[in-house]
Symmetry: C2
Subunit: 593 residues, 2 copies
Amino acid sequence: MVGVLQSNGELYRLPSKPQKYTPGGDGGTGLSHVCLERLAYVPTLPEVLRGRHEIVEGDRRECVGGHDIICGLFPHLSNTHNGHAPLRMVQVVSAAATPNNGSAAERPLRLGVVLSGGQAPGGHNVIIGLHDYLQRWHPGSTLVGFLNGPRGVMQNNYKLLQADELDGYRNQGGFHMIGSGRDAIAKPDQLAAAAKTCMEHDLDGLVVIGGDDSNTNSATMAEHFLKNGVKTTVVGVPKTIDGDLKNADVPTSFGFDTACKVYSEMIGNIMIDAMSAKKYYHFIRLMGRAASHVTLECALQTHPQLAVICEEVAAHRWGLKDVVRQVADMVAQRAELGKNFGVVLVPEGLVEFMHDVSALIVELNEIMAMGVNANDQLDVTAHLTAESADLFNNLPPGIRSELLEERDPHGNVQVSHIQTEKLLIKLVGMELMRRKAQGTFRGKFSALSHFFGYEGRCSLPSNFDATYCNALGQTAGCLVAAGQTGLMATVSNLDQPANKWSVGGTPLLSMMHLERRSGRDKPVIKKALVEIHGPAMTSYTSMRAIWAIQDWCRSPGPIQFKGHTSDMANISLALEVNEGHPCLVNEPTDKDN
Amino acid sequence: MVGVLQSNGELYRLPSKPQKYTPGGDGGTGLSHVCLERLAYVPTLPEVLRGRHEIVEGDRRECVGGHDIICGLFPHLSNTHNGHAPLRMVQVVSAAATPNNGSAAERPLRLGVVLSGGQAPGGHNVIIGLHDYLQRWHPGSTLVGFLNGPRGVMQNNYKLLQADELDGYRNQGGFHMIGSGRDAIAKPDQLAAAAKTCMEHDLDGLVVIGGDDSNTNSATMAEHFLKNGVKTTVVGVPKTIDGDLKNADVPTSFGFDTACKVYSEMIGNIMIDAMSAKKYYHFIRLMGRAASHVTLECALQTHPQLAVICEEVAAHRWGLKDVVRQVADMVAQRAELGKNFGVVLVPEGLVEFMHDVSALIVELNEIMAMGVNANDQLDVTAHLTAESADLFNNLPPGIRSELLEERDPHGNVQVSHIQTEKLLIKLVGMELMRRKAQGTFRGKFSALSHFFGYEGRCSLPSNFDATYCNALGQTAGCLVAAGQTGLMATVSNLDQPANKWSVGGTPLLSMMHLERRSGRDKPVIKKALVEIHGPAMTSYTSMRAIWAIQDWCRSPGPIQFKGHTSDMANISLALEVNEGHPCLVNEPTDKDN
């Protein structure tokens, strides 16, 4: 039975009944009852990792774009290295048929692990999966946890991770065991610092748990280490609640499932509140700067009256007026049915996807760089193009001031500080006043705003994320142990229960393309945006006209850890890999009922 | 097996496995998988209500204050009426020993039910409990659901509630089956309209599900009906997520348990995020205008670095500067330990509890009534007392404008529009800048704000609220069937499992006292504020100095409906009625494990 290490060094074993509440922490652990229950959850391990296994090379992969240029920039990763064929995906297969892969593989290893970027539910399980793999197949191995993100690698700030401590984080949310950070390991001095640390620890491998930028850097590090004869291999693990790190080999990034379920729980509650009180529109902004996967999944989970999807806004070159008109049309249509309430979902990145607003922001940044006085709105307007001046003058005064006053250290408009949901509320309100004056709107419009983001990044991982992360960690361990580098760990076949999942790796280079950044083409992992003809978006667009006027609210409720529903992954994944049938971590049993 | 009535009139039976996602709704019901699972939940009914039972009169109760005056204002309720002794609590007891209470009691009844005020999880179960009681003990009864709150009673806007429809709302959140509203039935014409409706329906009883104000009106209605020979009796059910409707006979109001658990899930997630990212203070405003029970319960659930409790602010006559200093002291103390992150909980009613701010608001309201131009801040300041002028001038400009510009229809400051958490962030930031200049603060202060309210009012009720509400509804049915009026339904003995719960009623008058409203003493139900020497507050104050500097974050996780933890009620209740031992709806069984 799993226990938790207490501050007095004794192991606290899980109680069979809920204990008395003591403000110092239940049973002295500081963990809540649900967290304690989650410690005892044992994620299903894919069968292939339970017995002896080996790695086989699979299909060759090309970069998403700029293949030749990227191969030229990563000469070691893109050519044969350490006996591995370049740019090939690899698969972990059962080794039962080939009994003589020697026990030499079982030598103790020295591995490092680092969390990079924003929190996502399941990070601890990746580290624990890695640890469990090492203890099972390479007993006596050392696991070095670098503290507070990539900075910990560069500054050699770390702690050794051991079973007693790790056991207290099984299936728990957060990144607080070793912390995370947003530093990059990309420039020559940063790469040199990382190499020095890896050599000092004599690391066989370094596992980087991060998003697209962090894993772009993983490729750079892998290349740098190969080039400089550093023996440490680098393997990435796909992490981001945004869900925009995926491709044919990587079906999803971890954390997306749980975060969307947390947001959808809240949205569903608010939708039922709107239907009950019948007096408010709730505008809900959701995390997701670059891609709208989170908003789309939440829309499928909850059936709101309207969800703005940035990729669609960009595809149709919609401007702010178009978006405002769409929302106002929906409100007006519902008013005709006597309904003056509803829910609108807005991705936080929206302002950058509306061509007119993004053009205005570019112009404002240029004007400020020219030294125009931000307090003189007339002067500012005089420097704008006619289209931007028109847009700017039609913004509510408060938003105009925000655009001019809130600037980042480089003097640029702080796009992330723009409360898009409040901007929409004001403009939709103004548009409806106009329509009311014209007699084309006879309803009421009273709106409230919400932002959900931080609430979902550190919650207890769903059964899916807990299991997926454990498998990712074990797979990363397996790849590093096999001397693989420049790969991202992959767990696929997600339409099957977890025992049937396939595991392997895909070349980080294969996820890369060239992107214009600061005036130069840079090789970076390509963000996976919402496909506007993909199954999730099609599912939404097929229904949105009905959801706009009907109240087919769907309240997903809180994440469950037991029973029929606990093992279901998110709807987007079900649509993408299983034709809408739920992706179930485990087959339902009668005991669940 | 429970099913859901579909739009085609057929009953949809619960599937044994999760079904394919169809955007029109799972299985055509529009309900999510978790909501479908909840339909099948059967709340435990207190044993006393399972077999034949009868009502016995218990102790006599006095009004909380102004007893004689209130009795004078409610002459019928406070004297013997319809053979019932006045101001006595009643208890429902098993009638096994007295077999000859005739089957005459089983005649079909005609009952009305109305939801009044803000949403609270469990409202549907009250109505369903009422319905189930009638069908069991008075088959053929009619249940009239008045639509959109008290207005539905006055305007005779209703629908008949029948099993097929009700079955689709079992254990579901929201008030959307019949809607709610904030109208009052208090003035003579309103009372007359309500009486007319009750007579038209020939109602034996009307059950009012509401908070303190709604139930004050229930007493007025009960009195009015007795006085005017309207046969309809009136029984109240204690509803409010704020938790401030309780007394010795009413251990808690329904909805508080679930709402606090939803907020605590979010707060716990944010606390873990703060500990992981190590760069932000999160200021979280929570619903609760008059009392801080919600904030206190959330503090016990999550162990934040600081929770402001309004009752304590009032008791010590703390002003804004005192509260700001306390927060700044905590931030400075943590900075010394190298920690520049944490979580602060703020009840939404705080501004009205700080003596200096509430004095300023009173003065501003008077000045505006005098016709002083709100745009002329100098003129406004000239009319303030020295203390208020000093406070006003030290507020950030944005807040000053908000105070002057956002006014309600009566010209008063819109206190509920003041974003207290943002006010605190700004003032704490200014205070810390001052300390930095003085060399007494060497940390960083970067803060984010959140508001949780609407998220918790319509969520799926916890097992506790689902069970408590079902028992309240059944009890209300029992009271009305026995001809009782002017009572609030009570369910007590909550330290025992639900089968052992006691049920009965307590006189609404006994919860009332006299309150100065618009220059007159008005009899109203007294709000139950946080007792600053009560067990919940003592539990918090005993630990807060430690929680301020340690990171003993407790993440309660999402509400569970199965397993050990699902049957635990909130911590405040456990401390108040069970010495900190969990109040469990059902005894844990081995099957839960």
